[in-house]
């Protein structure tokens, strides 16, 4: 849980410029953190351009 709390604290610096969402960079990273934090994962598929 400490890891999850720290992830929230550093959320803002990691965020994209337009928002303060703590994006995970990859699918595997998101699932791995979901296991540690017992949370569900939101996948937002977009198309560049």
């Amino acid at each position: 849980m400490l890891r999850c709390a720290l992830a929230l604290l550093v959320a803002a610096p990691l965020a994209f410029a337009e928002s303060k969402v703590a994006w995970k960079k990859t699918y595997d990273e998101a699932l791995s953190e979901a296991k540690s934090c017992h949370k569900l994962v939101v996948l937002d598929f977009f198309a560049e351009g």
């Binding site: 703590a22 949370k39 598929f45």
Partner: protein, 246 residues
Amino acid sequence: MYPDDAFAMWLNQNFIVARLDVTKEATLGKKYGVAWTPWLLVVDENGDTVAQTVGPLSASDYQGWLDSAQMGHAGFQDTLKMLSVTPDNADMNMILGKAYFQAGNWAKAVEHLTVAMKGLGPDRAETCNEVCSLLGRAAVRKGDETAAKVATDCLAKCKGSDAAVTLERTHVKLASGDAAGAQKEYEAFVKDHASDPCAPEAWYWLGVSSYLASHKPEGLMDAWQKLIAAAPDNEWAKRASMTVAK
């Protein structure tokens, strides 16, 4: 969808969030049936789908959808346990069938909605319509024509419309890659079912199929502007509005 700081903080506290470019993550896009973007999914830690929808959504609609997915997931195991005690309970099967439908698990949705349909009494016409329509849609997605026939027969008995089942067949055509064929069917649908509750959904996907078939934005803009003008408060019009506004 994300510039709202309060929503971003709520999202960070309650979910893990990943933003994935479907043009670079084609395998994942195929796995999750991404038909258009933004395509939003809630998945569990094993990557199994809990809920899916097409965006964009306003921050409040997005939060409402995520809340619903989270609550549905939390109650899912409890409902399964209760169902093990009373496996033929129509209401429990309806709840599970809806949850599986929302997650895109068509086989499980058909299984539970079929049991729910059999358990509904004749005095529950509105519920009968909802269950049979959803069963028909799930059966079409599954490719189970026997179950689809059962659902449309059930809708006839409930005096319900099978328009949603017809529309689902067109969604399947679009998902198979036949955008031009789907476009023709969406055009026919909005003409033949102009006042049906599913018409806004058909207008939305008419725009999408037009773009996918032609790679030109005119048809999409035309369909979506008609949708927005005809039903501005509809959830599909709101999605279209957010994109058109850009």
